[in-house]
Symmetry: C2
Subunit: 428 residues, 2 copies
């Protein structure tokens, strides 16, 4: 039998504790499956004596994760600290320089410093695995990087921030305002310390950047993602979208166009009865489309102790078996940057506006749309008591530029009481 | 760079041709991803000169797949012939004895002779990979065996025969009888040469036996699966189920009980709005539940050239990287047979009956149910012109035995014009 596979775990929050629990509970089974004993040499965390419900007495303790990363008695360094720089990044670098493989759940670090770390890993003959970094318990990195390797991927998309999906679902189901649903999510502890990471689409954007790199063989490029948060979504939009047969989701889409790569993380309308439309609460979903496989949909819990620890343990067992793979599926020298191509792909749009109730306004609105070559698929005007008439329009396929110009013109010409709301409708 | 990875492909039907196409089209990319050239040494098929749309001129030709399996210039033997015995099994055995890894899409052979082949593979230090054997393009073997390795699996279930799901969907959508939908599927070439493999649940049962083995660490045991086909499903049942908020699916379920392992492949009712209920046409879906990950759902095309070839190429690349794994996730000596435990798990049932329209019959029916401790959740009686009254009942949780006994008693006492129809309602 191969010598034991020795782990050093840095960060014993929810996920780190979950990993300890699985490794301890299922040590014998995992050893039979990987034909190797899996053994925790040492751990490191901020508070040594905090009650985590698991005993640390069997492991060495390191005050400093950087010291843990270079210990000669570990084969893999598991970084569960978080943060894009500082101690977590330094510890990962130390581990790689010391010739140790790295497992991390740190999507932000990979999305921003991924190439630098992948280069360091290759230089030292090491490997970085990060199943837990995207979509929690869903084995999506494995599916995309290994399971669908025989495909030219055309589109990857998904709902990858459970907190945002929880807020949007609560608004719809409980008829809450955005502020009320946000407050509820906050009270339940669902939000990051900086809530903008969630609601601004940043956390989900990090995940999308990683999936894009694997799917399209390019370096992760978080900065070129068109990020729009969910704080612009109102209960009026959720109701109006429902009335037209749609739901609003914070949807990340990465897609090849004739001009380059389009990466978006923004509130979108999807058909209410589609797989994405039916996704409620904190659940995540990733849709992968390739030339051979057509469409694969993966769904599961996007966060939480058990699911995230499950993903980390999958990486541990792969590395225990000696299964190495380039960080983003290809050696760094083979990753080709793809030009950022935004708003190239035509789509239908949803427009909600409050028309000033004067004779001829609707004619003027439809005129503006027509001037920008936007044709109308469906339109509804609702009965109203005050001086503005709520109007919903679903357009035929057009471009984001045309929509933006039309919205500006309607606003400048004071046809609506406030700027019209426009959301993309994603084809599924 | 490692020496090239050399393939021998036996069977050039739809799937084999699809594999040739991907390997030829994406040779350079796959080589960069696996850090190794992937090279087809030789092929074998029934008709050498059949037009397959791809040229075979670059590969050696073997008339006999068994000769191909032992060629010194192949590293892996890819069996895409089909059939549980005869030449396909002999060729696989020859390859393993010759020290070559094997890739196969042959679910029947693995479900029936899996242990024998796994033992032969281990004895010769070889590996059998079979991602294409279950659920076509969905990387479910990889997800279950590798991605969810850190879980104690509690239930695996799925819709894994696209033809059956196509027939059931067409009955519902086009208001067709079973016979009409079957004839349509047949005319479209969707059925196996022996249609009972599809509609009898045998093909899907083979897949379930393989998933059970990986999920529960036992030898595959196809013979203990409770198989019921879809030919007993009538358009009346589909309509009645829809009226109660359900759809009928040929659902495979494998689940640990206190007494052992329960494996069923049978028509079941699932909530119409659930992920399984929404599954239409030939698409497959597998649901995996584990202690850490909670629930993962995978969805995608269950058959066809591209999707199945995509799965085979995934196995090719894993083996090109030297990634070996025991056939059913554990060495054969660690697989423990689990006792067959049928009808142990309580469930709700759907009952449809034609009551003989005589005074007091409904009282007698509810009396029979009550005598067997079956309580009623919902009941509907429909208006009727003739001498029988259609009645639908959804029960609270009960056992299959109780249902079977009640149905027998109703039939013997001539309370219904024909034996009541009973389908299990699966909890999701």
């Amino acid at each position: 039998m191969t010598p034991p596979f020795r782990l050093g775990i840095a960060g014993l929050g929810t996920v780190g504790t979950g990993v300890l629990e699985i490794i301890q509970q299922d040590a014998a089974l995992l050893s039979r499956k990987t034909c190797r004993d899996i053994y925790i040499s040492a751990v490191s965390a901020r508070a040594r004596h905090k009650d985590r419900g698991v005993s640390l007495s069997n492991f060495d303790w390191e005050e400093n994760p950087i010291d843990l990363a270079s210990r000669p008695d570990i084969d893999v360094f598991i970084e569960l600290i978080g943060g894009t720089k500082g101690v977590s990044k330094e510890a990962v670098e130390t581990a790689l320089i010391s010739g140790k493989d790295v497992i991390t759940a740190n999507k932000a670090m990979l999305a921003i410093h991924g190439i630098e770390l992948a280069e360091l890993a290759e230089k030292n003959g090491c490997c970085i695995r990060y199943e837990a970094a995207v979509a929690g318990g869903i084995p999506v990195i494995k599916a995309l990087q290994e399971g669908l390797i025989g495909n030219r991927i055309s589109r990857v998309m998904g709902v990858m921030n459970g907190t945002c999906n929880y807020i949007l679902t609560r608004m719809e189901k409980a008829n809450m305002s955005y502020k009320e649903a946000f407050a509820e999510a906050d009270a339940l502890g669902f939000l990051e310390a900086d809530p903008n990471l969630d609601i601004g689409g940043i956390d989900a954007g990090h995940k999308l950047a990683i999936l894009s790199a694997i799917a399209f063989g390019c370096p992760p490029n978080f900065n070129t993602i068109n990020l729009e948060g969910i704080d612009q979504v109102t209960i009026e939009d959720i109701k109006a979208a429902a009335d037209m047969g749609f739901k609003i989701k914070l949807l990340g889409v990465s897609q090849k166009t004739t001009r380059g790569l389009e990466q978006r993380m923004q509130p979108c309308l999807v058909p209410a009865l589609s797989s994405l439309g039916q996704l409620e609460g904190g659940t995540n979903m990733v849709v992968i489309e390739g030339d051979s496989v057509e469409q694969i949909i993966l769904r599961g819990p996007g966060a939480g102790k058990g699911p995230t620890a499950s993903a980390v343990v999958s990486d541990i067992c792969d590395l225990a078996r000696g299964w190495k793979i380039p960080t983003f599926g290809l050696p760094v020298k083979n990753l080709s940057p793809i030009e950022n191509s935004l708003s190239d792909l035509p789509a239908s749009y949803y427009l909600r506006m409050l028309l000033l109730d004067e004779s001829g306004t609707l004619a003027k609105i439809t005129g503006v749309l027509s001037d920008h070559s936007i044709s109308i698929d469906r339109m509804r005007q609702y009965s109203h008591d005050d001086k503005t008439a709520p109007v919903l329009i679903v357009t035929h396929k057009t471009t984001r530029n045309a929509i933006d110009e039309a919205v500006t013109e309607m606003t400048e010409n004071k046809l609506t009481s406030q700027p019209p709301v426009a959301f993309r409708i994603e084809d599924l």
